[in-house]
Amino acid sequence: MAFDPVPSDPQAQAAFALHRFGFGPRQGDIARVAADPRGALLAELKAGPKTIDDPALSGSAADARDTVAFQQERKQERQERRMQAAGGGMADGESNEMSMRKPGPPLPQRIYLDEAQAHYQAALDADIGLVERLVWFWSNHFCVSADKAPLVRSLCGAYEREAIRPHVLGRFSDMLLAAETHPAMLIYLDNARSFGPGSIAGQRQHKGLNENLAREIMELHTLGVRSGYTQTDVTSFANVITGWSVYPPKRFPERGGEFWFNARMHEPGAQTVLGKPYAQDGFAQGRAVLETLAHHPATATHIATKLALHFVADEPPPALVERLAKRFSDTGGDLRQVTEALVASPEAWAAPRAKLKKPGEWTVAAMRASGLSIKDVRRVVNTQNLLGEPLWRPPAPKGFSDDSAAWVDGLAERLDVANQVGRLVGNTGSEPDALVDDALGPLASKETRETVRRAESRPQALALLLMSPEFQRR
């Protein structure tokens, strides 16, 4: 059963490694990893994050420029239509032009779907999936939301590729800087329009501070809530990062959509954050504060707790959290070493398999187990919506919960999806016993094995397997 200790035989350890640390086995994966499960995880870490090389994808700056151009075009079309309506009737040529508008969803949604495809494909292709799980974890930790604005919808996928993916095994401070200076984040948490009250632009336009990003950096991205910082710290930090903005594509056709340190918006003067003074140094002032936050002991504990909570247990063993926090502090936030420590920790292998997979993890695992490929990414995206974890659309900057209790209510919806997968794979899948062997190996309880074997059809057998406790939990 899902909570029993993992047997020590190599097949069971391999299946366990694939489920707890990865995206679950594809056909043959358990046997492939069984020679040395821990070694296979470390090897995947050694290989590092895969660069997504997809000709359909551009960089965030180009996406931003295209999106703004697209919005202008649409606006112009609307205006022309209004004028035509006002002028009464329309010439033939004009009506043709209108009907020539490209079909399909608006550009931001098209980019979002292309990015989603690459995002899911990387998870489906991974040998085990630990590195991709890290990408998902950190992307959720430093989340942005496509629902904020069409521009963020266009950028959220590129954000993950540019600010998160390259750093998941690098230094935490590098990821922090990349995330907080990325246009997607600056727009999502309103910093792009935060004016230093004493800055030139702030004075001229009578505009001021927006503390949103500064607060969430401290509360969610680094120190953690109630870790000792005050409102004064938040305000000072917000002042420090005024001017961290985005080149507006309309005014800057060349650099539009890139990070812009706009000195005219930046609050002049020195600031004190967490008791430490920071001289006025332009952009470097904010970079220095981020560096301090990245190396703060509270950050080490916060990150260690979140990692252990995500990978191991809803109430992670304190010894594990302490070990990860220490490794984080000792190595200056070297995430490769922190992750290696996680994989090497006995607690990470001993904790009961009680964590319910999050909807996205479970969906990818189901696709891997049943050999389904992405025929139309909208189906995967819609599945995530149905299961309550819409891709890159968290309800709040805190991201989606890593606590199992948050997801257990969605079980009935998972059953609908499992049925759908069963039907898609149809009667062509493996024999039920082989299906269980490939997906769970020795982790399958005899009850699950019997239930799958006695199913009335292959589609039902597959649905029951995907819904079994051993497949739902890890």
Binding site: S58, G104, A412, D416, Q460, L464
Partner: protein, 416 residues
Amino acid sequence: MTNIFHAPSRRELLLASGVLFAWAHMPRAALAEGRDPRFLTIVLRGALDGLATVAPVGDPDWVRLRGDDALTLDGSAKALPLDHFFALNPAMPNLARMYGAGHATIVHAVASPYRERSHFDGQDVLESGLTKPGAADTGWLNRALATMAPAERARGKEAFAVGPVTPLVVRGPAPVMSWTPPKLPPATDDTVMRLLALYRHTDPALAHALEERVDLAAIARAGAMDMRPQKGGAPQPQVPGAAIKTYFADSAGAAAKFLARDDGPRIGALAFDGWDTHANEGATSGRLAILLGALDGALAAIETGMGPAWNEAVVAVVTEFGRTARINGTDGTDHGTATVALLAGGALKGGRVVADWPGVAEAKLYESRDLKPTTDLRAVLKGVLRDHVRVDARALDEQVFPGSAGVKPMGGLVST
């Protein structure tokens, strides 16, 4: 900008939306005679209880066999008499009406050549048309089309090949096209029950979560379904009857509309799940009654959807095997052998039950437990394929149902 959205092709949409129905075009041979026949196969996965569908009310051993669960003409739910011996489950008034109009035929005590009791293998044999499971990756319906030379297949170029998601019965060399109803089938009551049983044994927290959700769903339906969930007690079958009815009728009706079109396909297959009634079978007022009612609605939807083409249609409803003759200890039936095949359609010379009745006395049962098979299902299918679709008789013996030369096609089923 490299993000060029490409509108998904029809094929991609079809693949993406899953497949329950597949078809290929009709041979010209029949067209040449001025006929334009339609043929649809409905596979009931899970093994249909033939005795609870069409009961031998005239058999003196019948009531003794099934006791209170025996369908009778004067029971609480009155069976619909078909002839002096057989009566139809009261959940199927439309089939009874078709039967009365000569548009339905029942074949009883029928079975595929498969004699074991595994669903998967049984469905393999049923759909492949071979005598052993796991031996083929093509189905008899597809091979039937393939035996008609491509030149004879009208408008074949319009068909799509959709490998891995098509029911086995229509998979194979002849091009098939597939389509699925826009709505997903509801998770059958049966799957939920099996899952709950597993969770209760192994993971009470998941059991609790699922029970709660199922209860909520049942409350939402309670008004229409007149079923109250029972808190705390044994799990009540939460029969999503309305959803299943709608799903069956929608998919069958839509399939019929395709088949009816002048330029549409002529051959199709559908599969309906949920017939594995091990516990609380409910032949007259429970789960099986709901399923049979939904199937009845599907047949009516096909009749309506076909319009005038109904007169040129045959629908064959088949299942992998039957169920035990007796009721088991949980008010259900276990995997058995012989069962019924239901034929419906205006092209039939119907209004009769075809059966070499083996009887249900103790000594007459197959392995002392199942209705004994006296008719080979392949004979029925071969009869329809030969006389209705005009598949060559020799091809039927050798390619469609290989090695079945000894199984003569059943004649006189259709009215041509």
